[in-house]
């Protein structure tokens, strides 16, 4: 694999010529039937590596929403993880090691395995039926098509059966432990600690001792299978990464986002209301929040997205930190409601976990194609602040920032994530919660003018209107979607007033630019800037690093705030000879940049539902700079 560093020493054990190769990083992919527990295996391998101190990044890939029949290609589920002894940013391009639990998994993934990579197959799954289901004419284990790889063939099913026979589990449950057998084998092959996995099993299934027994024995059996059969002539080691000191956890994007909302509510000293309707890939935020009612969280599973956004508007009026979440199709349904929240100038977070569109599209695949929709997806002039999370852990921070803006400026804020951020995971250095900003805003408690309470009397600095909640004596007022008279908030059809209010609302949002961080550019004045937003961060960063290591000078900047832009963005983009904007869409940020700054930026666009490979960005930069690899 491109510029991977390997050092090999003789094995330590006297009665074996086993060697251990130490790598700076390695990419492993677990692939099997959705029934084979590959997500669990991957997550366990990840946690073990995290506990061991590696840096890592993961990329799970689920089958489409519908569960496909066992053994078929659409049924294949996989989980890729990259572990390293330095801070990496993506789950890697091509795997060094592939675990294929059945022919379909092999068929679907083998093309990605790098030549010379290690392939672990569950031989017993390679029978007539499964081969047919996967579309194999001949058995690849026999037709020599796999010679470019180091194959480890394992009769995983009988070995697992054997291993768990005394555990107490029986029937079709027995084979459920297959994934732990595979995991054990990989723990041996990559010299992973075993405790994190066994501990997890014990904690997770504490009420099912037989399951604990089965999984642990399968895990051990896999580990021992490696030792006893010396399944491979070399095992691999990846040293702990030298990450900045701190306490780390391995966090998934949707979970980090849920936690960020909880943190924001605490930082705002407000109760959290989450009104939503389930949709892939946003549902897990609901699932996570509904587990934590002891934080005083109220989750409302509405009858549809229109009700969800409506309930959030009501909750905002009533004095909650109101959040509504969905993905493309559901956000479309919320459009009219968001427009009301904008007109009523109520604080609210609208979370859009983007998936591949249009229409139902490819619900389990990531895409960044809702940026312009976030900017302009409402009738009338209704500009909204838009922020985007760039990685799983960044979702925590971005959620707090979204809440800060919503509350301080009394406006709905669109918070963009995507399937890649939402389901990916990475080590997260836990923040010192004491550093959380105080984002609380005082409710209005007394009239703000001699003529009583003026619900649309704007704050001199922020242009925000006061937030007076029901139950407050003397501040009774009515909000609504009809145009409001400045200050009084009464219905008004006065032409000058409509102009004034339109301008005020626009100005309020534009002015937020003065209250956000300047865009930081990483670099030293190269000729080319790679500008990104959202989940492309990892790929872009890694590509830039790789280019620099290769002596190619290139600068990088990544946007968290899409509207308004950081105030220095124009000056930044104008200061480069060339600006490259990689996006997982057909070119959306680039249209904003061109319209705002008349800069002839270049796009690198991908609409395949698969995140950028580092190499794709690297190649584009090289092409633009005319420096061949």
């Amino acid at each position: 694999m491109a510029d991977q560093i390997a050092t090999t020493e003789p094995g330590t054990s006297p009665d074996s010529d086993l060697q251990t190769t130490t790598l700076d990083r390695v990419v492993i992919r677990f692939a099997g039937d959705s029934g084979d527990g590959m997500q669990v295996a991957g997550a366990r391998f990840t946690d073990a590596s995290a506990a061991f101190g590696n840096d890592l990044a993961t990329l799970p890939s689920f089958p489409a929403e519908i569960r496909a029949p066992a053994g078929t290609l659409p049924g294949v589920s996989s989980f890729q993880v990259q572990i390293a002894d330095f801070d990496i940013l993506t789950a890697g391009d091509a795997p060094d090691c592939l675990v294929a639990m059945n022919p379909a998994a092999l068929m679907k993934n083998i093309a990605d395995l790098r030549p010379g990579g290690t392939l672990i197959v569950n031989t017993e799954a390679f029978d007539e039926r499964n081969l047919a289901k996967a579309g194999y004419e001949k058995n690849p284990l026999e037709d020599g098509s796999l010679t470019p790889f180091r194959i480890i063939e394992v009769p995983m099913e009988s070995l697992t059966k054997e291993a768990v026979k005394d555990s107490g589990v029986s029937g079709r449950d027995v084979l459920r432990s297959k994934n732990f057998f595979a995991l054990g084998l990989l723990a041996w092959l990559f010299n992973r600690p075993t405790e994190p996995t066994t501990d997890w099993v014990e904690a997770k299934f504490k009420n099912k001792p037989e399951v604990v027994a089965a999984n642990v024995s399968a895990f051990q059996a896999g580990y021992n299978f490696g030792i006893t059969t010396e399944a491979a002539r070399t095992t691999f080691a990846v040293k702990p990464a030298t990450l900045p000191p701190g306490t780390y956890t391995n966090v998934i994007g949707n979970v980090a986002l849920a936690w960020g909302l909880i943190a924001a509510a605490q930082a705002a000293d407000l109760p959290l209301f989450f009104g939503t309707y389930p949709i892939t890939p946003a549902s897990d935020v609901l699932h996570e929040l509904s587990k934590h009612k002891n934080f005083g969280i109220k989750t409302f599973q509405a009858e549809d997205e229109i009700s969800a956004v409506g309930s959030a508007i009501g909750a905002a009026f009533a004095g909650n930190l109101a959040v509504t979440a969905s993905s493309g199709p559901g956000i479309a349904l919320k459009s009219e409601g968001i427009s009301l929240a904008f007109q009523a100038e109520l604080p609210m977070i609208v979370l859009n976990v983007q998936r591949a569109g249009p229409s139902t599209g490819m619900p389990t695949k990531p895409e960044q194609s809702d940026l312009l929709f976030s900017m302009y997806g409402r009738h009338g002039e209704s500009p909204l602040p838009v922020v985007a999370a760039s990685s799983p852990s960044d979702a925590f921070t971005t959620a707090v920032e979204a809440a800060r803006i919503a509350l301080k400026y009394m406006t709905p804020v669109i918070l963009l994530s995507d399937n890649h951020v939402a389901n990916g995971s990475e080590p997260w250095r836990l923040p010192d919660l004491a550093d959380l900003p105080d984002i609380s805003v005082p409710f209005a408690t007394v009239p703000n003018s001699d003529s009583g309470f003026l619900p649309y009397l704007r704050d001199f600095e922020t242009f925000a209107r006061p937030w007076a909640i029901p139950g407050t004596p003397g501040l009774e007022h009515r909000l609504g979607g009809l145009e409001k008279e400045a200050n009084t908030g009464n219905v008004s059809y006065d032409p000058a007033n409509h102009q004034l209010m339109t301008d005020s609302r626009a100005w309020k949002v534009a002015n937020i630019a003065n209250d956000i961080d300047l865009l930081e550019v990483d670099g030293d004045g190269a000729d080319l800037l790679v500008l990104g937003w959202g989940s492309t961060y990892g790929s872009i960063r890694a590509a830039v690093r790789r280019l620099r290591r290769a002596g190619v000078s290139v600068d990088q900047a990544h946007l968290r705030h899409l509207n308004p832009f950081p105030p220095n963005l124009g000056q930044v983009v104008r200061s480069y000879e060339a600006v490259l904007i990689p996006e997982m869409n057909s070119g959306q940020l680039i249209r904003l940049i061109r319209a705002d700054f008349l800069v002839d930026a270049v796009g690198l666009n991908k609409m395949s539902g698969v995140p950028f490979h580092i190499s794709e960005i690297e190649a584009k930069v090289r092409q633009m700079l005319e420096v061949p690899a």
Binding site: W200, P240, Q266, E476
Partner: protein, 360 residues
């Protein structure tokens, strides 16, 4: 607006400085007066009331009631009100809506709020027409109705709002008519006392686009013949000389000559039956204000409110796990520490670590 709250109110306390903008003669004026007068009788501070509406003539209502209010978007008032009521059980939340707002575009939110029993008082102003958009037929317009959008007559079979509400698991269902202010006030009081969603259909005259739609129930000559008053515990009889009675035959509610049946057979109204079947049968006595039509409370039963159940879960979780601690939460998936010398020191296994684990 900063007047100190006096223990008891006058109607004026619930009026705003906004000019009321309905057509002269509109039934909405009458209902507004009934509601304001009723609110004034309650010894409850103004700021504890919230009126939420959608879009329509009727939905202008909140602008004229000096409490908190939201004039939301078409059909969505129940959703907005749910967000308020679910998070603020201390408030009295009212929904004002129209036959188009509640039953056409807003139908889904209505049926769901009814089954959830959110503590809302829903006043549906049914004028059997789209007033605000200048006179198209609505889901309660009679078949064959000629309007701007149905010059050859409507071909839509209308809803019976009471039947629909009962089919949606409503715990409180009533019907009244704008002109009868004392009856309206009775119903408002009962709705206010009800714990849960109170659904009140109010027949309301649109004198511009659907004048006299309710004449059978409001006309001097007609009303005595057509008003079937449902009174809890009372036999259901009506007519100028109580000559008509309602009986149950073969599981259906039927109108008979009182003389023809012995008094014991006459159906005695019981709003509190757990089974909504009889209430439903009563709702089928009429399919619009065209002949004998029941007014009053069809059903009034108790079921826990949505917000009480929500609060109970929060309380239970807190009792069980203690108030949430963020620092603990973000460590709950297992942690490890990287110290200065950057050697990793593994933490104990991480329970609950498979947020994207295998669903099987």
């Amino acid at each position: 607006m900063t007047t100190v709250q006096s223990p008891t109110h006058t109607r004026a306390d619930f009026q705003t400085d906004q000019e009321v903008r309905w057509c002269p003669g509109c039934g909405d004026y009458t209902i507004l007066a009934s509601v304001q007068n009723f609110l004034a009788t309650l010894d409850r501070p103004r700021e504890e009331f919230v009126f939420v509406s959608g879009i329509g003539c009727s939905s202008r209502f909140p602008y004229y009631v000096n409490t908190y209010g939201v004039h939301s978007i078409h059909g969505r008032a129940p959703a907005v009100a749910t967000g308020i009521a679910a998070t603020r059980p201390d408030l009295s939340v009212w929904v004002v809506t129209g036959d188009g707002d509640a039953l056409s575009i807003g139908g889904n939110h209505l049926i769901h709020v009814l089954r959830r029993n959110v503590n809302l008082k829903i006043l549906l102003f049914n004028n059997q027409i789209y007033g605000l958009t200048k006179g198209q037929y609505s889901p309660t317009s009679e078949e064959g109705k000629r309007t701007k959008s149905s010059p050859a007559g409507s071909i839509d079979h209308p809803f019976n709002p009471v039947s629909l509400a009962l089919g949606s698991e409503a715990t409180f269902v009533a019907r009244t008519v704008d002109m009868d202010r004392s009856h309206t006030t009775e119903i408002l009081a009962a709705a206010y006392d009800h714990q849960g969603t109170a659904f009140v259909e109010i027949y309301q005259n649109c004198n511009v686009f659907n004048d006299k739609a309710f004449i059978q129930l409001t006309g001097k000559a007609e009303r005595a013949h057509n008003r079937i008053n449902l009174v809890h515990g009372q036999p259901i009889i009506f007519g100028p000389d109580n000559e008509k009675a309602v009986v149950l035959e073969e599981g259906e509610a039927r109108i008979v000559d009182a003389a023809g049946v012995d008094p014991g057979q006459v159906l005695v109204h019981d709003e509190t039956r757990p089974d909504p079947s009889v209430a439903f049968a009563l709702s089928r006595l009429s399919h619009g204000p065209y002949g004998p039509t029941p007014l009053g409370i069809f059903r009034r039963v108790s079921r826990p409110t949505y917000e009480s159940l929500m609060d109970a879960q929060v309380a239970a979780a807190t009792a069980k796990k203690g108030p949430g601690d963020l620092a603990t939460l973000i460590r709950s998936h297992g942690t490890w520490t990287v110290s200065e010398d950057s050697s990793a020191d593994p933490a104990p296994g991480s329970p609950n670590g498979s947020a994207n684990g295998n669903p099987r």
